[in-house]
Subunit: 158 residues, 6 copies
């Protein structure tokens, strides 16, 4: 059976941590679907279309990575895509408490769905998208936190 | 390249949580080596020989699972066995803080070594080997915490 | 003196975890008042009237359980109802940090008010109302998380 | 049915935190058994006989408090004493992770056994017996951490 | 070189914890700038003008304390004010996880900027501004949580 | 008044994290006393004499750093050395819970003693002395975790 993992998130915007995670997880899977969950009620900082574009640029060298968006429950998206794995990164113990809840609830909804966690890299541990948005908003330099190929695109977006 | 994972631990004794973890992780790998780390200085509760036997019984239906023991550093054991992955379970945020340290230090020692985490099952979250030892020591019933095939063997060991 | 406990919350909606908590705590008290705190500023997902109805259905077999709503400070509500105890459940260490703050601040405001904590049941530990709302919103099955007697009522509410 | 709680611990030595907990929990129960768990393998700092004496002095004004010692599993001690409740205090989130494990495992062993938690008082939150032992060992002043009636007895013990 | 620390926050409103922190940190620095970060998007509970006034009253006996407001990134405000230190308090492990992220990200943006942490006092550990706002909103007594010199001013503000 | 800080620890052995902490904290103080607490009961991995030597080598370029050892309570050592500050590093939230206890208890014993915390550097966050001892014991490469000037001395010690 093909090993397909969904990496769900808002990627608002993608960080070096996200990129590193996908590259390190790739050897485990036949396909990784990076899936931007979007939701009519919740406003994002960067528009969905841009976030999809930036993901496509960062992973253009990886044919086994697909970029998609979805609304609704992650478990339903996985089912529709024949994915038996959810991929997530762990930075802090606050992350962990949240992820455990989500992972265990997803199991209640679909016994076959396994969440696979990788650690953030040491140097990416303090970084998340919300930090990047805050810095971008005030015109600070987001370079240290963003994949090289999209730094300029994201920095200059307004 | 063959996907080999090492699942290191003391398995003193194996719990339902360990068993569940290996069964759920199996689809990701070509081989899982359950590796009992032992150490001249640290005393175990159950002897190494018994712990190896019990693991062999629990996983006898899984030909892709190997049971071994080692002393020394886990990174060296992985290298020797051509394993690029370490498999670990996460129950609590205290676990997480410990595992993050170990996982990130192992990366400093071997950049290619990736630690893969799965969550404990909901019902196994409060259980660990140390709880089982405490109950065994005072003659309590360890049945709810131990794989069925070895409950009697472990309960009656003295 | 009568032992009265207030179990404050938003119960938006009631979960199996809430039900289990009240049933397990009942032997300790002469009366438990389940009290929905509501607040003109904060919007709930389910309307107050429905949340009160569902609580009444779940606990209709327990004459010592009262269902009420209040606005304002919990300490004031307790005082008005001659309650010396606040009842709360604990699932995760993130819960705990929050509850400790609230419990210790309530003590500063009323020295006689004691908060009594029970653990969530193992199988309910990952579940909270916010998870249930998320699933309900996208039409998922909330059955595993909700007291049996109100599953249909809540599932079909819109 | 009589409401009996067991408050298990090593009380090596009793602290202000322990005393406060018992006094605040007393209104909930008909009887509280303070039970020193002892264990041939683990060495205590103060001898069992002294620890029992000091507890008896601190609670001599509370006829509903009994002082006992036991070895073996706490669940067995509760059963033998017809106690349906275990009483424990919570100071920190590290405490909580440990207590959750113990409380949930005890439930696996005896479904009727409920663990009841109270928060440490604000001023006692940083204090535990191990801190007191460290200070005592080097002749420091343990007065701020110990019930008044036994400060001199414990300070001068050697 | 002059040792200047910035103590950034929203001080919405100032608490006893903030006051204690500044008084205890003062011996380390030549100047402490208490800096209210404000932000067109985020609404505060108390108006900026009032928050600045209350800070000025509380610290009027401390000539080395300056009160300012800023918008934008804290690292930029520090640079503009020749401050090499950021001062922050730590109450809980949830605080710590948040502060570590912010502190380490600030370091990525300015290698010379060091964040200095002091512990909250034991009695102030459960208190934060959000608790005070909640109590104020419902007309409760905020006296135990607020510096004496401004209790009435804040309590009566509406 | 001279600003003297004590940095207590076992430094068994010194890590890059310790070195970084002292160098970053130096601008705040007139003198930092690195103080190895030793204790007849507790066995160290490296002998006290070696640990003192290695500290002296690492900080030989910093005349304001003193290296000492002590037994007994840290608060007493501070008093004897006219130190009003204790310096400590924070890596993880488990660290934080421990340090808060120690810091707040020290305050109970000496109101004037303030503990000052700095964050570990991002790259040193996963490292502690116990990890280094484990690696050393099995002949692994401790180079990434140890100040350059003493790597060989520590690696080759036996």
């Amino acid at each position: 059976m093909k090993k397909i993992a969904v990496f769900p998130g808002s990627f608002d915007p993608i960080t070096k941590g996200h990129e590193s995670l996908v590259r390190r997880a790739m050897p485990l899977f036949d396909e990784i679907i990076i899936a931007i969950g979007h939701n009519a009620d919740k406003q994002s900082y960067f528009p969905l279309k841009k976030r999809l574009e930036w993901l496509a640029i960062v992973f253009k060298d990886m044919p086994k990575v697909k970029i998609e968006s979805y609304s609704g429950l992650t478990v339903d998206f996985c089912l529709k895509n024949n994915a038996n794995f959810i991929l997530r990164g762990l930075r802090t113990s606050a992350d962990f408490e949240f992820e455990r809840r989500v992972g265990q609830v997803n199991k209640y909804m679909n016994q076959k769905l396994e969440t696979i966690f990788l650690l953030s890299s040491v140097e990416d541990t303090p970084v998340n998208s919300s930090v990047v948005r805050e810095i971008h908003k005030y015109g600070g330099n987001i370079g240290p936190f963003i994949p090289r190929s999209v730094v300029k695109l994201i920095q200059n977006w307004q």
